[in-house]
Symmetry: C2
Subunit: 389 residues, 2 copies
């Protein structure tokens, strides 16, 4: 898919500036690495980005200097940006940079910066102030870049659409290899290899292959357990394509489905269908969750559904918007952004589940893009219970 | 290898209490997930642990409640610990728990807690104080559990020893498949599959297979580049066994080694040998780095070695001790723990490297355990330049 162009990056940065204007900030320190990648295309695992009206500084260490410099000279590097090398420590280099930034109000990512880093930076600023320099005030912000990232631009929509298509193909291939006698771990190896062969950079998270009672643990690790007659087999896997994550779950049974398997599967499938059906602009994220939850509650499986309905997808496997239960404190949820109105360009999973400890669990998961009219499914593989023999 | 027993966990907790006593703390909030696993065997991805003299509280959400409750009833669960379910949010539940803790001075992990969480918790405490309750003072701490984790106990030494043995076997197998015409990505897939087949839960990080000029980028991603005559091929991979990470790098050349390959390899190999040779109790971590750095500087490759010499291994792939360049501010480095004296039980990588942008790079990496007398190599595979044809 290539990479976003310098122009794409400039547009993203403009959207961030719009948010910053609300808070009267004239500079902004980005420390969350996926946010830095989003704004610069920098792919290293360690960096900080100082945004100001005079230009940006990308701070990174020796391991990534060559890559960062090459990026800035390319057609997909951020404009008006300089690379700064970390001298002794990130905090020391950042402290110096903040002192010399000429900013008045400098935002930082309070939900991404540790208390310790904040203490270090504040101390550096106080020291400079003590020696008579004018220094910026540090202003706590929350999810500024994340809110921009929640609405995917054209490049991101194409990438996620392609990633969803590839992931669906992997799922079809995997449906063909599941049979009695397989081991959880071997199927996980096969899934991971198929993800790479399909063109994904890597699995988006630790692949889950959970059989029999293991399927009742939403985050089980693949073991040496062998699939046997009557087992539920829960598959949950994802891939990263050009940095973007997609995520899919399906459920198989080995031989004739048990009563529990049939009951859980039909309820969860109905819940997922109901949830997807309400996706469109102007709907609250919590309404999508509510639609799934209602179906499961009506089937007596309210307690068995012990997680949220979905999560945003993008440069991170879990990002905004969260699709979860409506908070009793409605005002707070809206103020904190834990519940949001859906808008075109949001991409998230819809993955209700139901788990009976000791017996088994079912989760069905697809990825959807909110469109102008409703939704587009990014993943598309048969959603029925896969009966394997 | 099984799991640490409840007794092992109690001993770990006692070592943590010893550190806490220095700071006169009567309770401690652990928010860093690997620290929680270390103290409880809890393997979920999301939890908090409140330690106090009256017992511990393990706070987790719906996804992990079943696993947490089963753990506490088993012979490898932490003693005197209760599971608390997250009500609306972790921060809300933790706030309530702190208020009712009866602690006077409550430590938190300032390098692991975000500014935002700290604000939430402080606000909850202030509110309770306002309504006349006595509440604990929040005291910033740094790397308390990490320092304990840096010295491995018997269980951990055995696990890491076994993991190193398995990783070495994987390396031998991989050395047999590298040949002209291979693709970086295919070799990475093969390594990942071999890691699982050897018994590792998963790769410890994104496997690196970097050929030709890509090998000069210390953190390159496997691409579709095909190995051709004269290429350097840098392999860097690791596995997780029962939660514990090991890490290894080796270098091959396709056909006759180039002059650059030979020069870089012989210097880096000498640097690694020199660094390993100085490992023993009572030596500063920075001396190990210094030994490697001196050799590379003498070969005119000081600038080409653009990272530290190593990092601790354990439940995280990067942990204490850091084996890096001696800080010019010696007092600060010691106070902050960025340079430490080696003690028996520490486990870390020794991985000097040298990179010539556009041409290629070499890194040789092994894992060592500090013993009473000196060191024990946990990984053992031929360290010469693998000439493949």
């Amino acid at each position: 898919m290539g990479k976003p162009t310098s122009k794409d990056l400039t547009r993203r940065l403009e959207r961030v500036w719009e948010k910053l204007a609300d808070e009267h900030l004239d500079a902004f320190l980005v420390t969350h690495v996926p946010n830095i990648r989003y704004l610069t295309n920098f792919e290293g695992s360690s960096a900080s980005l100082l945004i100001s009206r005079n230009g940006c500084n990308l701070v990174t260490d020796g391991r990534y200097l060559t890559a960062a410099r090459e990026l800035l000279q390319s057609s997909h590097g951020p404009c008006h940006t300089e690379v700064r090398s970390v001298a002794r420590s990130y905090e020391g280099t950042l402290g110096d940079l903040l002192v010399s930034s000429n900013a008045k109000r400098l935002g930082f990512e309070s939900d991404r910066m540790t208390v310790q880093t904040h203490i270090h930076l504040s101390t550096a600023l106080e020291r400079a102030l003590g020696s008579g320099r004018s220094v910026p005030e540090l202003v706590a912000t929350s999810r500024v870049v994340e809110k921009v990232r929640a609405v995917k631009d054209d490049y991101e929509r194409s990438t996620l659409r392609e990633a969803g298509r590839l992931l669906s193909m992997v799922a079809v291939d995997i449906s063909r290899i599941i049979e009695p006698g397989c081991q959880e771990r071997d199927v996980a190896i096969e899934i991971d290899a198929n993800l790479r062969n399909a063109g994904f950079e890597r699995p988006a998270f630790d692949t889950i292959v959970a059989s029999g009672p293991n399927s009742a643990l939403p985050h089980a690790q693949p073991s040496t357990r062998v699939f046997t007659e009557g087992d539920i087999v829960l598959l949950d896997f994802g891939g990263v394509l050009d940095g973007y994550c997609v995520d899919l779950s399906r459920v198989a049974t080995i031989g004739t489905p048990s009563k529990v398997a049939r009951r859980l599967h039909s309820a969860v499938a109905a819940a997922q269908e109901a949830a997807i059906a309400v996706v469109r602009p102007g709907v609250w994220a919590s309404e999508v969750d509510g639609a799934a939850r209602r179906v499961l509650e009506e089937s007596g499986l309210g307690e068995a559904f012990n997680h949220g309905t979905g999560h945003g997808l993008g440069l991170e496997i879990h990002e905004d918007p969260r699709i979860s239960k409506r908070d009793s404190d409605r005002k707070r949820a809206i103020a904190e952004g834990s519940d949001v109105l859906l808008v075109p360009g949001m991409v998230f999973t819809v993955e209700p589940g139901a788990y009976e400890p000791g017996q088994g669990g079912v989760r069905i998961e697809d990825d959807v893009l909110v469109t102008d009219e409703g939704y587009e499914l990014l993943t598309d593989v048969r959603r029925d219970l896969w009966v394997q023999s």
